[in-house]
């Protein structure tokens, strides 16, 4: 398998790529004489909660696959590669159905184009939404090749069969390599979806089997091409001074000292965003230079005066108080079963607790960067983006041009975690290139990344339960409040609205259950971070059930199994969509199964906690995937915490690439450890107080779990999420383990305060 460079980013690249040429869009990717398969792509829409794909039967013509005259199979990777392996996994699905020889498959990273369906690589939905379309693309090409060979040999198509990059006719012993059939196959009509036959799973070679990951060799030899590495001839470098307080605008600036720095050529202003902030460039003053170092130095010598902002008084300590008061009052109801108030009034015993999770930053290892080249009313970008179509939309709006005149090449992403689905940095590069008439590379520093992130919401939670004489909950009330992601597009947004991410969708069998969402105003840009609302909700919910189990003096796994209760499907979809079949019901049998399995794999029954050594468990469903983790901790006399072992069991439905999925869950344990132990973003006087990795701490090798064991179930249920669902159980499982080890209950994160 060969892999093209993720974008034309090396010095030889030109910026003359245009969307429309003589052969149309595909001409940029396939050479003359290529047989290009036009497949039809169903595009699923998501509910606002991001959890339920609703078949909208919207069909978009699109293109994923082609054959070159030499028989090379080109497969388009239309989703972004940020470490999940999706650039390998989705093409492997098409190669499987085509029965192509993987060594003769070339993966081509797509530019942004709505023809491909959604390219918004987040929400853990690439396989969920595109497994079937890629399967159809492969199967359709196979059928066309078989028909082409049959016509050529004058035999029935049903007697011809593709086997390893060739069509064979068994009766006559004839075979033809794909390369011999390219021209003939191109004349075949594209089959309808109902004509397609899929391979039996017993013949799979790539799906569910080891396949080497694209770009691996390039990465370990330093040749992987990331956004920060993008380069085009004549390019200049920009570092941008942005308002230290969200919402401030430039009042005046003095660039005389900056311009004296050798290598600095000029400065340029980027206009302030117009609220709501969306994906717009924040605005500021850019220093342009012939290398990044000069741009950074010049920027250090800028003197900028900023106008006052309404967010200048924002302070994390005061804001926390506000959120904590909010969750003590009734909020907007998300789910309501039975009569919680009545149950509390008559309860013999109740238990309540409040939890807090701070604001977090994505901090991908590659800070945002983008190259833009504006020429003749059109702009070409090279960017590490999770969503090249959003780049098109955002840049088109920023420059006042049509989105068809924005070409966005997607490089490898040095981590994304949700940050790189917001293309503000691409808008900056495009605005600057248009202004100064040269290709511009915008480089964000780590300080820029932490100061100007789309932060993961800070959250306060309040939970209350009534329990019977055996300590089993008879009523459950949950209230959470956090500034809304909706503030991106609505200045009046006040409700976070992420109830379906771990708060309202709890799998407990409790007759009286209500969850609510309280108001909160955003004073920073807010954005989704790997596993989104599940980050804080899972911490609150699974810590709280651990408290209830502790009070009842029960084994945690047994208590949870009882709390999940009878095998059933919990219907949580909005009323208006319930007339359609639900491919992803919340199935309590699957919740219990991963919990029982993780107990088994971790040897839970034999574990004894106490004296600074403890085990904690949490089971959580998010992004339609069921995950249970058992975490082991060691706490020494000084309170230092080590995590010797994590066991995670995953039911994600059908899994295409077990190896890369395993890696995602290993990584999720580390990501979860960071936010549990040491990560926190705070504001004072409207300014973010963390500037680099000494202040925004993330787990290093010795702080990460030493051994993480992942078990992924083989399962024929529809494919669910992989990238995110490993994160939510980690924080509560760590804190529950600490409680088991020491008797100390953690109700706020991170554990290490500085």
């Amino acid at each position: 398998m060969k892999s093209t460079k993720s974008a034309a980013t090396k010095a030889t690249a030109t910026n003359s790529v245009s969307l429309v040429n003589r052969r149309g869009f595909l001409g940029t990717m396939f050479s003359a004489g290529a047989f290009v398969l036009a497949a039809r792509v169903p595009v699923f829409a998501q509910s606002a909660a991001g959890d339920y794909p609703v078949d909208q039967a919207a069909w978009h013509p699109s293109v994923y696959l082609g054959l070159e005259p030499d028989g090379t199979v080109l497969i388009v990777a239309h989703r972004s590669e940020m470490g999940t392996g999706i650039k390998t996994s989705l093409p492997a699905v098409a190669a499987e159905e085509l029965d192509a020889d993987w060594k003769r498959v070339k993966i081509v990273q797509a530019v942004g184009n709505e023809k491909y369906g959604s390219q918004d690589t987040d929400g853990s939905k690439s396989i969920r939404e595109f497994y079937q379309p890629l399967r159809e693309a492969g199967a359709a090409a196979r059928l066309m090749l078989e028909r082409a060979a049959a016509a050529n040999w004058n035999v029935p198509a049903s007697e011809c069969r593709v086997k390893n990059h060739a069509v064979a006719h068994e009766k006559s012993g004839r075979t033809a390599d794909f390369r011999e059939l390219v021209a003939l196959a191109a004349k075949q009509p594209v089959p309808n979806a109902d004509e397609l036959k899929f391979k039996p799973e017993s013949e799979y070679r790539y799906v569910g089997k080891p396949v080497q990951t694209a770009d691996l060799k390039d990465i370990v030899t330093g040749h992987g091409s990331f956004g920060q590495d993008a380069r085009v001839p004549g390019m200049v470098y920009a570092s941008i001074e942005r308002a230290p307080v969200f919402g401030s605008t430039v009042k005046s600036f003095d660039d005389s000292q900056a311009k004296k720095v050798p290598g600095v050529s000029q400065t340029a202003t980027i206009p302030a965003y117009a609220p709501p902030y969306g994906f717009q460039a924040l605005g500021g003053v850019a220093v342009i230079a012939d290398n990044t170092w000069a741009a950074l130095r010049g920027r250090g010598k800028l003197s900028v005066e900023w106008n006052q902002s309404e967010h200048a008084a924002h302070d994390s300590v005061a804001y926390r108080k506000l959120l904590e008061e909010t969750v003590l009052k009734p909020g907007r109801v998300e789910r309501n079963e039975g009569d919680v108030d009545k149950a509390f009034a008559s309860a013999a015993k109740t238990h309540e607790a409040a939890y807090y999770v701070p604001q977090l930053a994505h901090a991908p290892m590659e800070p945002p960067a983008a190259v833009a080249s504006f020429e003749n009313g059109k702009v070409t970008l090279w960017a590490p983006t999770q969503n090249p179509q959003a780049v098109q939309d955002t840049v088109a709006k920023a420059l006042g041009i049509k989105k068809e005149d924005v070409v966005c090449h997607v490089t490898l992403l040095g981590g994304g975690f949700g940050r790189k689905s917001k293309p503000d940095y691409c808008a900056e590069a495009a605005i600057l290139s248009k202004q100064i008439g040269k290709p511009v590379k915008v480089v964000w520093s780590r300080e820029d990344d932490l100061h100007f992130d789309y932060f993961h919401s800070v959250a306060a939670m309040y939970l209350k339960a009534a329990v019977d004489e055996k300590g089993r909950p008879t009523a459950w009330l949950g209230r959470s409040a956090y500034p809304p992601i909706g503030s991106q597009n609505d200045v009046k947004a006040r409700y976070g609205g992420l109830g379906m991410m771990g708060w309202a969708d709890v799998p407990w069998e409790i007759p009286n259950l209500r969850t609510e969402n309280g108001e909160a105003e955003a004073h920073t840009r807010i954005g989704w971070l790997r596993s989104v609302g599940n980050v804080f909700h899972a911490f609150g919910v699974h810590s709280f059930v651990d408290e209830l189990a502790a009070q009842a003096g029960r084994d945690r796994v047994e208590y949870l199994l009882e709390l999940i209760g009878s095998p059933r499907e919990i219907e949580l979809r909005p009323q208006e969509t319930r007339n359609r079949p639900n491919p992803y019901p919340l199935d309590t049998a699957r919740v219990k199964r991963v919990l029982e399995m993780v107990a088994d794999k971790s040897g839970w029954a034999k574990k004894k906690s106490g004296n600074g050594h403890g085990f904690g468990v949490a089971v959580h469903r998010s992004f339609l995937t069921y995950v249970a983790s058992v975490v082991e901790v060691e706490v020494d006399a000084k309170g230092n915490i080590r995590i010797p072992r994590v066991d995670t069991v995953v039911d994600a439905g059908k899994v295409v690439n077990f190896e890369r999925a395993t890696a995602q869950f290993e990584g999720a344990a580390v990501f979860g450890t960071s936010l549990t132990m040491m990560s926190q973003i705070t504001s004072a006087n409207g300014m973010i107080q963390q500037g680099n990795f000494h202040q925004y701490r993330v787990a290093r090798m010795s702080e990460a779990p030493l051994q993480t064991n992942i078990t992924i179930l083989k399962n024929d249920a529809p494919p669910a999420g992989i990238g995110e669902p490993g994160v939510p159980p980690i924080a509560p499982a760590i804190c529950n383990a600490i409680f088991a080890a020491t008797g100390k209950r953690i109700r706020e994160l991170p554990i290490q305060k500085s």
């Binding site: 940020m82 470490g83 999940t84 392996g85 990951t213 770009d215 691996l216 060799k217 990465i219 370990v220 030899t221 330093g222 040749h223 992987g224 990331f226 920060q228 590495d229 380069r231 470098y237 050798p262 290598g263 290398n291 990044t292 170092w293 130095r297 991908p364 290892m365 590659e366 800070p367 490898l412 992403l413 040095g414 981590g415 994304g416 480089v443 520093s445 780590r446 190896e659 890369r660 890696a663 995602q664 290993e666 990584g667 999720a668 344990a669 580390v670 990501f671 450890t673 680099n692 990795f693 000494h694 993330v698 787990a699 290093r700 090798m701 010795s702 990460a704 779990p705 051994q707 993480t708």
Partner: protein, 151 residues
């Protein structure tokens, strides 16, 4: 005028002597396997070898490099088959891959000093290299594999 070698090639630099090696490598000579992660010596993404020892390119000024020899990930092994690179591929260590040049260069310096590192040696040597994807478990295993252990 500063004379140095980069991956065995002779170079002459007459720009800002305070420029960190990182930006010389990336922007001036286009050796961009060395990554920018923090600019403050906190993450290790820019780790290279200077005269055979691991150094953070973002904290190494050009003026300190007269007569020195710099090796980047591109120059670690002519065929890209250093035992660490082979182990990295075999164990599929990288996720996004961005920090991995720095991780490999740091590990290569470790193995030069200690061909059979203990767990503690590995942890101490690698503590300065952040991987946000969380590939530490595989990094540890790959270092052991490259050192001839089973991992």
């Amino acid at each position: 005028m500063i004379r140095l070698t980069v991956n065995s090639g002779a170079k002459v630099f007459d720009g800002d002597p305070e420029m960190p090696l990182l930006w010389y490598l990336r922007d001036v000579i286009g050796t961009d396997g060395t990554k920018f992660g923090c600019g403050a010596g906190l993450c290790g993404a820019c780790t290279v070898h200077v005269n055979g020892r691991a150094a953070r390119a973002c904290q190494t000024r050009m003026q300190t490099l007269e007569g020195k020899s710099v090796t980047t990930i591109e120059g670690l092994s002519p065929q890209g088959n250093h035992p660490l690179q082979a182990a990295w591929i075999e164990l599929e260590v990288p996720q996004c891959g961005y920090c991995q040049s720095g991780q490999i260069m740091q590990a290569a310096a470790l193995l030069k000093d200690k061909p059979r590192p203990t767990d503690r040696d590995i942890e101490q040597a690698m503590q300065g290299n952040i991987c946000r994807c969380g590939t530490y478990q595989r990094i540890r295993a790959a270092i052991k594999r490259a050192a001839g252990g089973k991992a």
